[in-house]
């Protein structure tokens, strides 16, 4: 019986696994940071409370009027238009950032 040494396994296999984990398109950190800033301002989030990509608007106390103001703030900042269906699906800062990048890309396409 012969065993294939682990060391002799093609290194491209490891490489592939590594890449697929980061393969999904995610919004740039810069976009996320801008969204966080707009959200913090709209909701008057106290300095001690962190706002990150994972932050849910509902958990930060946003009601519907806050949400439309946030969306309007994002539209102004990024020069995009967000329709109601897309706006409804935004639950987290990350969702907002991803949508923004998608709309910006579509605009410049």
């Amino acid at each position: 019986m012969s065993f294939v040494s682990i060391r002799s396994r093609p290194s491209s296999l490891r490489f592939k696994i590594c890449c697929s984990a980061t393969g999904e398109a995610q919004a740039k950190k810069e976009t996320v940071d801008k969204v966080c800033m707009i959200v913090k301002k709209q909701l008057a989030v106290p300095d001690g409370t962190p706002v990150t990509a994972e932050s849910k608007f509902s958990e930060l106390g946003a009601d519907s009027l806050d949400t439309v103001e946030i969306v309007m703030g994002l539209e102004e900042e990024f020069n995009i238009t967000v329709d109601e269906t897309s706006a409804q699906d935004i639950a987290t800062v990350q969702d907002a950032a991803d949508l923004i990048e998608k709309l910006v890309t579509e605009k410049t396409a």
């Binding site: 301002k41 709209q42 409370t49 849910k56 958990e59 930060l60 106390g61 009601d63 519907s64 009027l65 439309v68 103001e69 309007m72 703030g73 539209e75 329709d83 109601e84 269906t85 706006a87 409804q88």
Partner: protein, 308 residues
């Protein structure tokens, strides 16, 4: 929020510091075209024993949702909101259904509804509910055989965006015009909030989410002498908005001198008002409640001032 759970749940019950009486006042069902509203003020409810009792009413998934809130105040609001809903519903079953037993489902757009047990005779006249909250007031509206939407907003609430910019972005041209006519900025802001709550109440009553009835597809006309009217705009003739209907009744009131409250219910009566008639009035009964402790009928007092 809820996935179907067996009705019986064994939960360890901590003894409160001082045992509180559990009062369930059975409520008379709302009449046709009548809305009952029960509200509480979170800032006034700080008795920890009471709050523990309210928390005890929540389902596991409601508790999880409460726990997911980052701020303590928001967590308290979730607990109070669910406790208010459950205790209110219980009243309208003649106190036969324990507040803890209610289960909920969501329609395909996410609007919560009561999941009535199939053998329950109270399901003959289905209760409809809707909740709205601000940090200082949580309200639960109840109607019979009519879909209902309710929205409350603090009168003093300021927007970060300019009122007319918000209106131009989200409201209809006729609504923008009526707001633009108001020269006093504070009066304009208040009018915006009234329109906002009315539009929100309609969308919540329809139960199809913000995208099901975008604010630009319908206009609300608020003429206090002739009541409140809704009409679809030309935007609504786009495909996908056939479900937008105009047979809805509205009422707008000032609550506690601090909030605007709008309620919208389906007008299921056969004789509907023509364009020249005033819409049928909506009966409104309002109670301020401290669940299990005290209920005060406030409609007909200074605490509830009908605007339209």
């Amino acid at each position: 929020l809820d996935s179907p759970l067996p009705a019986r749940r064994r939960r360890p019950q901590p003894l409160p510091d001082a045992p509180l009486p559990r009062i369930c006042t059975a409520g008379e069902l709302p009449a046709l075209r009548e809305v009952h509203v029960w509200y509480l003020c979170p800032d006034e409810l700080n008795n920890q024993s009471q709050l523990n009792m309210y928390e005890e009413l929540l389902s596991p998934s409601e508790r999880e949702y409460a726990d997911s809130m980052k701020a303590t105040m928001l967590r308290k609001d979730v607990v109070l909101s669910r406790a208010l809903l459950r205790t209110t519903l219980s009243r309208y079953t003649g106190c036969k259904i324990d507040p803890r037993s209610f289960e909920f489902k969501k329609n395909k757009f996410g609007k919560p509804e009561v999941l009535w047990p199939l053998d329950d005779s109270t399901a003959e006249q289905p209760l409809h509910f809707n909740i709205s909250h601000t940090t200082s007031l949580i309200a639960c509206g109840i109607a019979i055989n009519a879909h209902i939407g309710i929205d409350v907003e603090e009168k003093k609430r300021n927007t970060t965006k300019n009122i007319l910019s918000l209106a131009r972005r989200y409201f209809t041209p006729s609504e923008v015009d009526s707001l633009a006519e108001i020269s006093d900025s504070d009066a304009q802001r208040k009018e915006f909030l009234k329109l906002w709550t009315l539009k929100e109440a309609y969308v919540k009553a329809l139960g199809m989410g913000f995208s099901g009835a975008p604010f630009s597809t319908f206009s609300i006309m608020l003429e206090t002498s002739k009541g409140i009217r809704i009409s679809k705009t030309s935007n609504a003739s786009r495909p996908g908005y056939d479900h937008l209907s105009e047979n809805w009744l509205f009422t707008l009131a000032e609550l506690n001198s601090s909030h605007y409250m709008s309620v919208c219910i389906e007008d299921s009566s056969r004789s509907q008002a023509g364009p020249e008639d005033s819409p049928a009035p909506v009966g409104l009964k309002v109670w301020k409640t401290v669940p299990f402790v005290e209920d005060t009928l406030v409609s007909g007092t200074e605490a509830v001032k009908l605007i339209a």
